[in-house]
Symmetry: D2
Subunit: 298 residues, 4 copies
């Protein structure tokens, strides 16, 4: 069993830390919200008063933070932990942030002789609690070999996308594509329904045909077609529209930086933003179906 430092105990980080504790590791934790630290302490973690304490005398350091700015602030700068952390520590950032930001931090870690991985996750809060997250990892083969046992304590699938930052790139490419196929599926279903088709019949035909995709397979956006998905529960739970907007923003940043054209992803982002503006920010992202059905119903 290892000694692990863990920073960021929110909706995702909290249950991830729990699973590491359940696996028998010794945890030192930190979060700026005292309640979250308290909760983790009650589960067996030890807490410290300052983030610089977390990194002392540990084997592995894991962070799970909301955005690039928090990650850069934690690792870099005058009081950044890269300045104080022991070189033998394996560093894993599980936050979803801009690839350029992940590369900047990884480079700084490398310059200090540290092994660091970017390992953003998918699977949502449910996956974090159940320990079935997917990790998409950027960094060296050796780094991933060392990290694998810990990632497996928190998740089920581990993909190695490439070198530093590649985990972030792969995740945002995937989520951009996801936004496109969910929106495309929603509008195809509505077009069928508007022309008299049964959404369940059309879903089944497209699922088995060249329109087949993850949404039709396990996450149908049309209410009533599939059991146990957000669409059949008034779009509660799942992957929030606001989080999809965040990930699409990261994809757009990466596209801007490289001068890449992403017409479908850009359109999806704009549709999701206006959808959020209509009050759906805290609903599941498959609620994009409403953009099309609201018109049909007037």
């Amino acid at each position: 069993m290892a000694k692990i430092g863990f920073v960021g105990l929110g909706n995702m980080g909290g249950p991830m830390a729990s699973n590491l504790l359940k696996a028998g590791h010794e945890l030192k934790v930190f979060d700026i919200v005292p309640e979250l630290v308290k909760k983790s302490s009650e589960q067996g973690a030890s807490s410290v008063d300052d983030v610089s304490e977390v990194v002392k005398d540990i084997d592995v350091f894991i962070s799970m933070l909301p955005a690039s700015v928090h990650v850069e602030s934690l690792y870099l700068g005058e009081n950044g932990i890269l300045g104080v952390i022991d070189k033998s520590t394996l560093v894993i950032d599980c936050s979803t942030i801009a690839p350029s930001s992940a590369k900047r931090v990884s480079k700084a870690a490398d310059e200090r002789g540290l092994t660091m991985l970017d390992a953003p996750v998918s699977g949502g809060v449910g996956g974090a609690v159940a320990g079935t997250l997917t990790f998409i990892v950027g960094g060296s083969d050796e780094g991933l070999d060392s990290a694998r046992p810990f990632l497996e304590d928190m998740g089920k699938n581990i993909f190695h996308a490439g070198g530093p930052g590649a985990g972030q790139v792969a995740k945002i490419c995937n989520n951009m594509l996801l936004s496109v196929l969910m929106t495309g599926t929603a509008e195809a279903l509505q077009l069928g329904v508007d022309n008299g088709l049964d959404p369940a019949v059309l879903s089944e035909i497209m699922r088995k045909s060249s329109g087949g995709n993850w949404a039709l397979e396990v996450y149908n956006p049309y209410p009533g077609v599939m059991d146990g998905v957000p669409a059949s529960n008034e779009y509660e739970g799942g992957f929030l529209v606001d989080l999809m907007i965040k990930d699409l923003g990261l994809a757009m940043e990466a596209a801007l930086e490289k001068g890449a054209a992403t017409p479908m992803g850009s359109l999806a982002r704009n549709l999701y933003i206006t959808h959020g503006g209509n009050g759906y920010g805290r609903k599941d992202f498959s609620s994009i179906q409403k953009v099309f059905s609201k018109n049909a119903n007037r």
Copy 2:
């Protein structure tokens, strides 16, 4: 074995007629291009001088024509075959046309007491030759029951989408979604490559994740990632950009008629048209990848 009348012996209709002959049926054929009739005759079909002759003394009538205008002209109007065909004949139109057009013809057939199905296909010339087409059928259960043996002589999968015209609706919904997910996949792959990822690694990660779709599964648009697909053969063969543009036009017609919003499908159509305008009309539709890679290479 049945007596079948068959009109339209082009790239698709020709091999479909061949397969019916191979299955032992007696065929009477017609096409405005004499060479195509000759070819079919050499395979055992009998030919007639006028389309009105094809429909005499047959059990089943099948048509496979390029567009709505040809189908309406064949069936309706002063000399339309619906006026002369025997009421006991089963009528199957395999053309891909506007749902409104299919409904118009089906309604006229119904008024004359005929059983008619719209049964557009997917699977391309390859599927037509191999007898592995997919039929997406609109019409009555009884009609489909009668038609099934003949469709099975030409294809592998048969979907029942609903009443008259539903086959056309389901096909264009599917193909609109296909255009969206192909374009979305292409731009996601290029965004990854522009940011340093290996397209094969990224394809595999997304295929197994929430970005999973038919293109990543069997028709990867990035050259060299998958064997035996058009992308690895300079986008030769496959499903032509010009045909995708045609199907997207039908989807837009259906959307216009119902006042439906199809932002992703509309954008895909516009991208495919400008792609065709750049000289890719006769290339496979997965060549939409070039729209993104050309920019990356400058």
Copy 3:
């Protein structure tokens, strides 16, 4: 003064007929809504029981109907007035309809030896009442010369777009462009406001710069920037979102028929449809600003 037959006395046709009466012409009118006929009769028009009566013993025939289907039904078909109208009558259709439809009717008129113009209008109900409409005319020079005095009784500006149907084409091209520049102006203003600019200052800078356009000049979509426009009156009145959606549908039909790419117009149509679906169908089309400001306010 002339004898004029007038069919279609709705929001637009009613005041247009009024202005012809005020100019001293003798009017025979018809509408399927008795109240509208009654109102026109009270202003001095004579009414008839059947549309075929309207066209007897007149110099000029004018129609103002909602859509292609009504125009084709009035002029063509078994009881179409083209079959009964005297060849010396000048025929003017002021409806906004599909160019293909206008061409079909014009061709039929021409085959019967009649001079016919398509003359769709812009300027809205306000312009119809004030007699300040703009007419965009398709047809022969001679036809327009004959029509000009009557058009001038109802409007202020007369453009000659070309031969039969050209008036319709020019109108839908203009309105498609209008939808694009209104939406583009709205999102540019919101982007500026989101980044701290005063919308009035930004409007004035862009108006005088290369972003200058009709919306910034006389129809600013941002509330409070300009007096006397719908944006400063909660988007009441003006040119309804539902009417813009109709015109964009006609533009899309024309684009589909010619295989033309219209990415911006297609996107504008989709945005207007979803905007209408959110309850803005009966608001002025500059309310597209709300699509962007709703997001900003959350």
Copy 4:
């Protein structure tokens, strides 16, 4: 007459410096390209070996650099000139950069007690040479009052957009709108031409109607419609596609930062990038017309 330090003597900065010399000012100049410095020296400027020398003993400092990174590098950081420049110097940055970057530099200047303006220009190389540039200024009223005489030596129109960074915001909002209306105008013209209209007639009708905009007024994108514009000279000269892509990138950055939706601007950016990828990067931005006409011609 004033003593002016000037950094950045490229296509734009070179002629701007010339005009300041012609107006009688004393210039100290710097550029990393020796040839550009030499050219300016021949016109009467004095040159220095190091950028830190430029800022000594001057009344006004002006910079004209390609991108945010160059501006931040010049002003900020360890050797940034804000650390050495005298507090009485008026500082004007004429580069077009990200608003966030402009604000960062302005804030740093303010903290050091300096008066700084962001004053990006429009009008292109032609306007720079002729001294007819437009300046869109962000900063204090007092700052602009002091700067006005110098700006007037280089340009004709001066707009005050607001506080620090507002000049950049207003410029990118304007240019985003410009890209939208140019693309919208191009596709409307092609739609008209595809449907049989004369592009000159249609241009004139829309110019005088609600489709009226700057492109139709002075910069018609359709070849042959207007004399003396890039469209009538094979799209040579003018405002390059690559520069429009740059400005649209800045607009997208500003939109991302604020979570703003810019569907039309995003689409325009994607169309311009793929247009650039097709070999039009060094052509005038009105060449977006080719995207539509290439399809029409096949």
